[in-house]
């Protein structure tokens, strides 16, 4: 088990994870990151075309190892 830090960001703020989460491997990091992204999207995605929310994972050495993001496209069809 190692500790990973899941920073997350929306339109104007990046929140640094100071607590971290113990994960058994990259697969678990990815799953935790994805679940976090879903919550973040529900909470922080606003109705702005092109808006992106993301989760970025650091390991204990501060190296960025994974980024998950989702962005909103709004297009008028006529």
């Amino acid at each position: 088990m190692a500790r990973f830090f899941f920073d997350s960001g929306d339109h104007d703020v990046v929140t640094e994870d100071e607590i971290g989460i113990e994960c058994a491997g990259l697969e678990e990091v990815r799953r935790a990151g994805f679940e976090g992204l879903i919550d973040l999207t529900r909470d922080a995605l606003s109705e702005v075309d092109g808006q992106q929310v993301f989760v970025e994972v650091r390991n204990e050495n501060g190296e960025r190892i994974l980024r998950l993001s989702i962005s909103l496209q709004i297009k008028l069809m006529r």
Binding site: F6, G20, G36, D39, L40, R42
Partner: protein, 238 residues
């Protein structure tokens, strides 16, 4: 038993004689580690337990194994008191931290309730308040935003620990895991961290290890949409 008596006094009108009767209840004390299932769904317990120390959760598992913590229980609470009347357990009770519990036999509790109506009323009020807490939690998990949800649960824990005299100020030692907080809030662990961080950034709480300090109690209650009515305390201490 003092903590049970204190809890019941905080929610009902007990007299000297009732307190003597409560003090006379035979209890068997046992210690448990964190994350131990004390009672499982489907069990038919012959005793109920009072929390003497530590934090418990009532929990339910979905068909695919996801856990929801449906309520917290602190010192003085009798989480499975309803087992006195509903013989088959419909949820699990799990220690969320190391805990000390006192087991009381159902037949003894029944005999006391038959002879001492004020104690029976106090027990009834206790289970009614548990139900009120469940209603609040459904609202919290179902309709409040994650930030409000987190603030609310911290307010509730601090308020309940204060009302049974377990903490004097607004500092609570809450050695529960982020995953358990997530299971109580219906949130991912990543989002639990984010919400704690957000509460810290706004100066509402400080955390050191497992210790949570509400730096700005009125700010935290405001952020958590926390109104103590549902806890039905006779003399709210906070």
């Amino acid at each position: 038993m003092d903590v049970l008596i204190r809890k019941l006094q905080s929610i009902s009108d007990l007299r000297g004689g009732d307190i003597d009767v409560l003090k006379g209840i035979q209890i068997q004390e046992k210690d448990f580690l964190a994350n131990y299932d004390l009672v499982r769904e489907g069990d038919r317990p012959v005793s109920s337990f009072v929390v003497l120390d530590g934090l418990l959760g009532s929990t339910k598992l979905t068909g695919d194994g996801k856990r929801q913590i449906t309520s917290f229980f602190v010192a003085g609470d009798i989480p499975d008191l309803h087992g006195l009347h509903l013989s088959v357990m419909d949820c699990n009770f799990t220690t969320l931290t190391a805990a000390r519990l006192g087991f009381m036999r159902h037949d003894a509790l029944r005999a006391i309730c038959e002879q001492h109506p004020r104690i029976a009323t106090a027990f009834w009020r206790s289970t009614l308040i548990d139900a009120a807490i469940y209603r609040e939690w459904v609202t919290n998990v179902g309709r409040r935003e994650a930030y409000t949800r987190m603030a609310h649960i911290l307010c509730e824990l601090i308020f309940r620990l204060r009302s049974v005299g377990r903490i004097q100020d607004h500092v609570a030692d809450l050695p529960i895991t982020q995953a358990a907080l997530g299971d109580a809030l219906g949130l991912s662990t990543v989002h639990v961290n984010r919400m704690l961080q957000e509460l810290r950034r706004r100066g509402l709480i400080a955390t050191t290890g497992s210790r949570v300090h509400a730096l700005d109690w009125s700010g935290l209650t405001h952020a958590g949409d926390f109104d103590t009515t549902y806890l039905h305390q006779r003399n709210p201490a906070v």
